[in-house]
Symmetry: C2
Subunit: 388 residues, 2 copies
């Protein structure tokens, strides 16, 4: 199998982007990614677009995006894996290059969710799971799903609402330093605890916002990396992927996500690394509880110890493993198809040690980074390990 | 790059399938494909689901299908490339196995389009292109798009409405022999010409029906083929893929599809075959004009000679290259996500020389077959070459 590297990255401003349509939004990232790689659209033979696309009248946007970005004629595919869509698009392009079929590939993650109102967005997001059974019968939406996990977790391990709030506080602190983040504002534990209850124990500030945004990465084979004379290629060391039941009542427990455990073990094995080797991680904090479970699912700590990591500041810069130091889904935002690709962009920059301000740059020891991207409530999980 | 073979195929009855939900419909194909391969769901590490999924309340059906088929835990992805979705799903699984990441993979193509009425279905199908511009402003739907091509083609080359009708007559004749086809009824040229005009010169019998259905194939690496002791593996010899502009006014001409020309040349080159080597082909006859253009785009004849091939019976069993001898999209039906996968199922059976009745089995000389799957109006094209 051929080695594959990230040789260019691009990232739009995340937020409410009524100033652009979905094509223009995608182009903001594509332009920078191609420029970084020293390539033009005509050099790209394979394009993988990650987008849910249920938000408006063009639900199948890959062709329109490719046309606008000058990519017509390429091999083109749209990929979906609920909120893990971005990572699935990376995976698709990765195997296409690794297989020897293509020397380069472009991954575009994009979503324009704010085309619909918040209630419609939340309702549509619940449709990746067992919608007709769980939503129609029980009214479960995503905050409700994660609230089930949060209450089970708190009950089992003694974590508190304050522990959940600490995740939001950390991620907002880093988001405030990230000019591309949707919400660039620090918050306090008190802000979180006093925000309105969405699905107890999850309050408004326990939930990620609904965001428009795009991100793009260019992948290249080892031979192409040499040809392009890339300064600092970031190699894809391993990707693990797994899925969970659609119906939550089939789950064995509500204190972690089986798909994340399995995906991470596959990724660690392929990459030949262990959790302690990770210098920096991006995890899928769609809700604060999700970040705590991710620490445990990924083996950063033992089961039931995640809330201690946040209490002790172990996942901040200077701690054991800095996590979501770009603001995470929580503050940077979660434009679904873009999220997994955005994780690759951030980690590539971290591994290149070019993040500013320096208080947002993780110290590098092994030059190994991990992205954890969950679809639904553990319906999908993709774990990608990068290495400089 | 590792060699990859089709080692098991399954195919549901196509038609109006109100008797099953989308999960059950998928399972009909998955069950047979796995049984043929001698595998159980637990043996499958990677599942690629091809489905447009815009038709009802669960637009992201991969997880629900995987759960119902016992595939939970696998690496799971949903793929979309408009009406070429099925082939894109095969491509995704193919590169995943070819890259060395997985030894086996399952491709499931499924669509349940008859959940909505015909007008809604036709309107939704137009959304892969430049919908907001062309549909909202000019009212163009898919029959309208292909009517533009048909009038240009007839005007340029002197083809007639009767020539288009001959495509429908041929495909219905074979569809009548295929127990899995949606429409198992022979028709005459007069039936076609006297059917109501949908978008001149395309009449009702120039258009494929709106169909529910599923198809599945199991892929395996060369090592796995040996291990499974597969009797008659059918190898994927090459896949070519390309895309066209979303906006039709950007097209240079309306007498063929650039994406199909480019995709087929890539596929021929990789497979090391030429058009004359093809023993049997499946082409994307969503409308009768599309089959005539496909003959030319694929190099089965020169430009402007496609209508002569159908006049001369060159694409029937016994002719130069039998095409769509399972009924094609026209009579077998076109459940979008399933169509490309259904083409692989049919061609695998043709290459194994197990098609019944024998009047529907193509004679094999080189044991090479070709599938041509178009998304939109040449917005996407995937050409897959199989070899026994």
């Amino acid at each position: 199998m051929r080695k594959v590297a990230i040789v260019g990255v691009g990232h739009s401003k995340f937020g409410e982007r009524q100033d652009v349509n979905v094509r223009e939004l995608a182009f903001e990232s594509v332009k920078t990614a191609l420029e970084e790689a020293g390539l033009t659209p005509r050099d790209i033979p394979y394009v993988s677009v990650g987008s849910i696309g249920v938000w408006y009248e063009e639900p199948l946007p890959a062709v329109a995006i490719a046309e606008y970005c000058g990519l017509t004629g390429s091999s083109l595919i749209r990929v979906e894996a609920a909120c893990a869509t971005g990572s699935a698009a990376v995976y698709s392009a990765y195997t296409a290059v690794a297989s020897g079929y293509f020397d380069t590939a472009l991954v575009i993650g994009v979503e324009k969710m704010r085309e619909v109102d918040t209630f419609t967005a939340v309702e549509l997001m619940g449709r990746a799971g067992s919608y007709l059974w769980e939503f129609e019968n029980f009214g479960l939406t995503f905050p409700g799903y994660y609230a089930l996990y949060a209450t089970a977790y708190m009950n089992r391990f003694g974590a508190s609402e304050e522990d959940l709030a600490l995740v939001a506080v950390k991620n907002h602190r880093y988001g405030a330093m990230n000019p591309l983040a949707h919400i660039q504002r620090e918050i306090t534990v008190e802000d979180v605890l006093s925000s309105y209850v969405v699905a107890w124990p999850l309050k408004l500030y326990d939930c990620c916002p609904i965001t428009d945004g795009s991100a793009a990465v260019v992948l290249a084979s080892e031979e192409k990396v040499k040809e392009l004379k890339v300064d600092t290629p970031v190699w894809i060391a391993g990707i693990g992927s797994s899925s969970g039941t659609g119906t939550l009542s089939y789950r064995s427990d509500f204190i972690g996500l089986d798909a994340a455990v399995k995906a991470s073990r596959i990724a660690y094995k392929i990459a030949g690394v262990e959790p302690r080797d990770i210098d920096v991680a991006e995890v899928h904090d769609c809700f604060t509880i999700a970040e705590l479970m991710a620490y445990e699912d990924l083996g950063f700590c033992g089961r039931g110890e995640g809330f201690k990591m946040i209490r002790e500041g172990q996942t901040e810069v200077g701690g054991k493993i800095p996590v979501n130091i770009d603001g995470g889904l929580k503050a940077k935002g979660h434009p679904i198809g873009a999220t997994g690709v955005s994780m690759m962009v951030e980690l590539t920059k971290q591994l290149r040690e070019e993040v500013k301000p320096s208080s947002r740059q993780a110290p590098m020891k092994n030059y190994v980074a991990l992205a954890h991207n969950v679809g639904g409530t553990g319906h999908y999980c993709y774990v990608t390990i990068l290495r400089r």
